[in-house]
């Protein structure tokens, strides 16, 4: 037994109870709805809790000074990294530069970055007013590809493969009524694959017409 192991008398139960109380305060903090108080209870308490765990459970209190310096060095290196990089990340423009991508991301808001998958994508369309090409790229291109060639990322694994609108053979058996019917009611309604689902609930007849016109724009010239 080293002197380290004999020397400390911590009441672990009390430390644990203090930790639980602090935890409850940090959860309750945001309920008051005061922003600065939330930040104090969230991060201030996190630092206090971490310190309690490190000193009492990890026994850093009784550890040799060398060990404390080792960890402090690590922390200093980390803060140096953050401090060195943060001016470039926190600001989106400086005297001689601007970060257009970051500015655009702030401008677009979170949905613009593609949040929420398919459902959110449809909401974006509804809010922005209808744009057939944009909707095609958000909703249809996943399988059919942005160039309409049936080579979208999600289409690779489908059997049968998604229809290619750039294939002349495709257009031999289709007319615009049928394209609209497939978008509205799904391909199974005309004897095609059930993988092409119905979109009639998501789009109005005008929007379906615009989408069908966009699909026809991929048709190769004869």
């Amino acid at each position: 037994m080293s002197e380290h192991q004999d020397g400390h008398h911590v009441n672990y139960r009390n430390v644990y109870l203090i930790l639980v109380v602090l935890f409850l305060v940090s959860v309750a903090g945001p309920e008051l709805g005061i922003r600065w108080l939330t930040l104090v209870t969230a991060f201030g308490i996190a630092i206090v809790k971490a310190n309690l765990v490190i000193q009492n459970f990890m026994h850093l209190k009784w550890e040799k000074r060398l060990m404390k310096w080792m960890l402090t060095t690590s922390l200093i290196l980390m803060f140096l990294m953050v401090a060195g990089v943060s001016p470039d990340v926190l600001n989106h423009e400086g005297r001689n530069w601007e970060n257009l991508a970051a500015q655009a991301a702030v401008e677009r808001g979170v949905e613009g970055e593609g949040e929420g998958g398919e459902v959110a994508a449809e909401e974006v369309v509804a809010e922005a007013g209808f744009n057939a090409a944009q909707t095609f790229n958000l909703v249809c291109a996943t399988c059919h590809g942005t160039s309409g060639a049936g080579d979208g990322p999600a289409g690779v694994l489908l059997d049968p493969r998604p229809a290619s609108f750039t294939d002349p053979a495709f257009w031999e058996t289709r007319d615009m009524d049928r394209i609209r019917a497939v978008i509205r009611d799904g391909a199974a309604s005309v004897g095609g694959s059930s993988l092409m689902v119905a979109w009639g609930a998501s789009f109005s007849e005008e929007e379906i017409g615009a989408l069908a016109d966009h699909v026809a724009s991929f048709r190769p010239p004869e």
Binding site: F23, F57, M67, M70, L90
Partner: protein, 192 residues
């Protein structure tokens, strides 16, 4: 033994047992790994006010329950250490098994949470907030898994009264995993 050979695990120039020194070295490097990741997250979060809309979708109560689970598992880990110091390997093993139960509970809750989020379309590629969310919490979860596995070996030995000093070593690592979560909780769940 005719010659007393130097044994690495008992030799120490610093006066700190080698195993414990090694664990602290691991943690010193972990500070930079997690610190760098969380620091980057914080910088981006402050530079992108629109992330607040994405962060609003994390489920605070799940994060809170998991915080409580990890705090409690830290408590059982330190009780295991206390028992090991008294030479009571069986009790130490019992507390380590309880700690592993905490790890399992944490991971089950996490899988439920992630399944729910992924089914709602909040995947790692949804936007940069969710990329950070899954990377930070995922790296932390890997540490929970690794710690629980190592703890199994330590508990197995401790139950037979062997290598009792390792109970403290795995404990120090486990408390660190708890400390990381103590910071992840406000960063990902509370500050919205």
């Amino acid at each position: 033994m005719a010659h007393a050979r130097p044994i690495a695990t008992t030799r120490s120039a610093t006066g700190i047992p080698t195993g414990r020194l090694a664990v602290w070295w691991v943690l010193a490097s972990e500070v930079v790994i997690f610190g760098g990741l969380l620091g980057s997250y914080l910088m981006h979060r402050l530079g992108h006010p629109e992330w607040a809309d994405a962060a609003a979708h994390t489920q605070t109560w799940i994060g809170a329950v998991n915080t409580f689970v990890l705090l409690t598992s830290s408590f059982t880990a330190v009780l295991g250490h206390q028992a090991a110091e008294k030479g009571d390997g069986k009790t130490a093993a019992k507390y380590l098994v309880l700690t592993m139960g905490g790890a399992a509970t944490f991971l089950i809750i996490k899988s439920y949470e992630w399944t729910n989020e992924i089914l709602h379309g909040y995947t790692i590629t949804a936007n940069t907030f969710w990329s950070f969310y899954y990377t930070a919490a995922g790296l932390h979860a890997l540490h929970v898994i690794a710690g629980a596995i190592i703890m199994g070996f330590v508990a197995f030995d401790a139950y037979r009264g062997r290598e009792l000093h390792r109970v403290e070593l795995i404990g120090i690592y486990w408390h660190f995993v708890d400390v990381v979560w103590i910071f992840l909780f406000p960063l990902l769940y509370i500050a919205k």
